[in-house]
């Protein structure tokens, strides 16, 4: 594939910036993981709360950079013309760098309690989870979103002619800007402040990012598999409709215990239980679209990360979100590590992996090296994927122990009672962190230097030799045979079965035997079966899916005619 529109190349700089921020983000995560094990580490240099603020803000910024880059890459293709105002996009690039640098340094002021109060607003940093950025950065970010919104909407054709993907992206970039405004005010009441803070955090993730995500995934499936835009449009429409219809009131699951009335517990439990529906739907669609034809994967790493994004969206956002969305389970999971397991798998998995997938799709095209060595990309995928599953495991099980010691036994001495009990799981964080960091380093190196490294000798295609190597052993295990819809359904069912086990594990904390008797056997047992089961099934499913995709190459080599048969326009 070739670049059709020159303004698509503007996405390259945002992909590069995304990778730089991602690497800093991973380093920050490593610092936090090490501080979980030894809280005295780097105290006074970069305190835990500062490192965490950086970790959350960079987490948002690198994902947004990935979105912007992906939108710039597909925008001209969708609109069949160049992006408008390229100078504005170049300005946006420098604005993003300035915002990130400004915010990176002002976060350190928290160590001296300097928020920069002026006109009643904190201008340097405001110490609110996810919204740590002060007003200076906040207002600049608003300007940045306005630029994105303007450029995208001006490039698109008139609204009457929009297809579903354009609707998704158009709504997404507009809502991205609108929702941010709710985080730009100082609110004195704690309950009201939390109420509006979740407007930004929940509606961003559930109402905006999810919408952009669904649209971009749909677009990349069209590009990768020549899937029918009509059927993808159908999926995008229902995906977005279900996300908004469940997620709008679903925000209520953040209003259980912040000082708002108890009726939210009913609405939140009801509607956010529906939130996984669109995710199951989208998950199913990537299966269908990937099986539009039986051609071998052209760009394996791009599809690996795209699949990872969809599967972790279902598992991390969908299932691990579902388990704690009921008032009776949330009362225990709230304010513990259990929520961190969900957040890591959902945010990095769903949105981060999409950005990386887009980079793997777009960069070889822009650097004009369609036949690049794909082994590094695949290796990096397996490292960050298993690493993040491991992190989710550590947080989830560690969180279950935390619930028991902190909430059931009421021991609130973290250094003396809670941490010793969580010790092993704390240690797992830096261990899996090293796995992720290795993968992140590899993929960043790969994408930075892709097309600039030593060229592959003409005539040899590493992609195909890699396929041939693995085809034989897989034939013995059957992991390479085509994945049927029935089998995919069984995998999906298995994930949900373990998800239900985990839900009962949290629910079991309500039993008098646990709550009054102090016997943790049942919740521990259910969590001990449920979390590893869920994460291993996830790993197994992705392995199986990708093995069947990889085997296509081998089949194509042996019987070139067969590959042509199911191909359709």
């Amino acid at each position: 594939m070739q670049i059709e529109y020159q303004t698509q190349r503007l996405s390259l700089r945002f992909f590069m910036l995304m990778l730089v921020l991602f690497i800093i983000q991973v380093i920050d995560g490593m610092i936090l993981a090490a501080q979980q094990v030894d809280p005295t580490l780097l105290v006074g240099v970069i305190n835990f709360n500062v490192a965490r603020a950086e970790h959350l803000n960079l987490g948002i910024m690198w994902i947004v950079c990935g979105f912007i880059a992906a939108i710039l890459f597909v925008g001209p293709l969708l609109s069949r013309r160049e992006m408008v105002s390229p100078w504005l996009i170049k300005l946006l690039f420098y604005a993003v760098i300035i915002i990130v640098v400004e915010n990176f340094f002002t976060q350190f002021l928290a160590e001296w309690g300097i928020a920069g109060w002026w006109l009643g607003q904190p201008w340097f940093q405001q110490g609110l989870e996810y919204l740590e950025a002060g007003r200076i950065a906040g207002l600049l970010i608003l300007v940045g979103f306005a630029i994105v919104c303007y450029v995208v909407l001006r490039t698109f054709p008139p609204v009457r002619e929009w297809n579903e993907v354009q609707w998704g992206l158009g709504l997404g970039v507009t809502a991205l800007m609108v929702v941010w405004v709710f985080g730009l005010f100082y609110v004195a009441r704690l309950d009201l402040q939390e109420y509006f803070r979740w407007f930004v955090v929940h509606y961003w993730v559930e109402g905006v990012w999810e919408v952009i995500h669904i649209s971009l995934v749909g677009m990349f499936l069209v590009l990768m598999f020549k899937a029918d835009i009509k059927s993808v449009g159908f999926a995008v429409f229902w995906g977005i409709a279900l996300v908004w219809l469940s997620g709008l009131i679903g925000n209520a699951h953040h209003y259980f215990w912040i000082g708002t009335p108890a009726f939210w517990q009913f609405w939140g439990s009801l509607f956010s239980a529906l939130e996984p529906l669109p995710l199951v739907f989208c998950f199913w669609h990537i299966y269908l679209d990937a099986h539009t034809n039986k051609l071998p994967l052209e760009n394996a790493p791009a599809f690996y990360f795209l699949l990872g994004s969809m599967v972790l969206e279902l598992v991390g956002a969908g299932i691990l979100g579902f388990i704690m969305t009921f008032a009776l389970t949330n009362v225990w999971s709230h304010g513990t590590w259990v929520t961190a397991g969900h957040a890591h798998l959902a945010l990095f998995g769903t949105f981060g992996m999409l950005g990386i997938a887009a980079a793997y799709y777009a960069i070889p095209i822009m650097r004009n090296t369609p036949h690049y060595d794909q082994r590094l990309g695949k290796l990096a995928f397996w490292l960050v994927f298993t690493g993040m599953l491991g992190i989710a495991f550590a947080f989830s099980i560690g969180g279950t122990v935390q619930i028991y010691v902190y909430r059931i036994l009421g021991l609130d001495w973290f250094g003396g009672d809670v941490w010793p009990a969580m010790g092993v799981y704390k240690l797992l964080l830096p261990l899996f962190g090293i796995v992720i960091a290795t993968g992140a380093g590899i993929l960043a190196y790969d994408l930075f230097t892709l097309g600039r490294r030593v060229r592959i000798p003409a005539g040899s295609d590493l992609r195909d030799t890699a396929h041939a190597d693995v085809a034989t052993p897989r034939a013995a295990t059957g992991w390479g045979r085509p994945l049927t819809g029935f089998e995919a359904g069984v995998w999906l069912m298995a994930m949900w079965v373990f998800g239900i086990v985990v839900t009962f594990g949290l629910l079991a904390f309500n039993l008098p035997r646990v709550r009054v008797g102090g016997d943790p056997t049942l919740p521990y047992l259910l969590a001990g079966v449920g979390y590893p089961g869920l994460l291993l099934v996830t790993l197994g499913f992705v392995w199986r899916f990708l093995a069947s995709m990889e085997a296509r190459g081998a089949v194509a080599d042996d019987l070139p005619a067969m590959a042509m048969l199911p191909a359709q326009a």
Partner: protein
């Protein structure tokens, strides 16, 4: 007419239906939101809560400025490195908080909390100046002092000013007064010993930090009593002096002690005095009589009613031995 191919949409009729549904959902959400914040709901608001001259709103700004939410949770939101602070005021009370916050790297002892009760703001807030009554009212403080007192924490010392400490207490007073619909859930496992045993899986023992010091003191009572320097060293630990003073020349909350004895001290009024025995005694008993240049007034409480004469002498003798380093 074809849809989808030329870029036009196939889902237009369905989109209208979805939009209508969305508007209904939004209406429900808005109605629920309005009912959440009406006055008749009776939720505590920050403008009704003060501690001394400090308001809860000032405290909220301090809480945000230090990004406390980056390690702790409040109403369960934030980070999970340290405990939830929503009900902390109700559990341990203002005096414990006032003793803890200025030097958060150490757990306050009984004396350090007791000293705070000399503060009129504390008396007005807790309704008592007696330690027994205070610990009865805030049993969480008693457990905390018994189990952790004198030990070190994992929280870094933060440069809170005296005002900021008061403001934070006002804020915690507000969060503790909020109705959070029964969260965090009430602990129903009875008995601290039993809970500790369940958590640690062994017969409950009083933690080493708390038990070791009295045990050691009990073993060698004669020696401690005879040697005023050792007695002074023990007293500055037990009385909580070390929460604010370093044994070297470093500034913590108050001036460091290293090399202080017989040195020339510059005072806030511009004069200079020699830090002799009389000066040190006076600084312990009437801290506001002479303020060192660069330090605010009324930060240190008076120890007049808390220390006996021979105890003050022992501390002064101990101060003689500290070198500048």
């Amino acid at each position: 007419m074809s849809c989808g191919v030329g870029g036009s949409s196939c889902e237009t009729p369905r989109r209208r239906g979805a939009l209508v549904m969305l508007v209904i959902m939004a209406a429900i959400f808005i109605v629920l939101s309005v009912f959440s914040f009406v006055k008749s709901r009776g939720q505590t608001t920050p403008d009704t809560i003060t501690y001394g001259k400090y308001t809860a709103d000032q405290g909220k700004r301090v809480f945000q400025a230090y990004n406390c939410m980056g390690c702790h949770t409040l109403v369960g939101n934030g980070a999970y490195l340290g405990p939830d602070l929503t009900g902390e005021y109700q559990r341990v009370g203002p005096a414990w908080l006032a003793a803890f916050l200025p030097s958060a790297a150490g757990w306050p002892t009984t004396a350090a909390v007791h000293v705070q009760l000399a503060n009129p703001d504390q008396q007005a807030d807790t309704g008592t100046d007696s330690m027994e009554a205070y610990l009865k009212k805030f049993p969480g403080a008693a457990v905390q002092i018994e189990r952790r007192g004198g030990g070190t924490t994992y929280m870094p010392n933060l440069p809170f000013t005296r005002d900021e400490v008061g403001q934070l207490i006002a804020y915690f007073k507000y969060t503790a007064a909020m109705n959070t619909e029964g969260w965090p859930p009430k602990v129903e496992v009875v008995g601290l010993e039993r809970r500790l045993q369940l958590a640690h899986g062994v017969a409950a023992t009083v933690p080493a930090a708390a038990s070791a010091a009295p045990a050691a003191a009990a073993l060698e009572p004669a020696k401690v009593a005879l040697d005023p320097t050792a007695r002074g060293a023990q007293l500055v630990k037990d009385t909580g002096c070390l929460a604010c003073h370093a044994t070297d020349a470093k500034r913590v909350i108050g001036p460091g002690w290293g090399g202080l004895y017989n040195s020339q001290v510059k005072l806030a009024d511009g004069s200079t005095v020699t830090a002799d025995d009389a000066y040190l005694r006076e600084s312990i008993l009437k801290p506001n009589a002479k303020i060192v240049a660069g330090y605010p007034v009324s930060v240190m409480p008076s120890y007049e009613t808390l220390l006996k004469d021979d105890e003050v002498n022992a501390i002064v003798t101990y101060l003689h031995t500290l070198e500048k380093q």
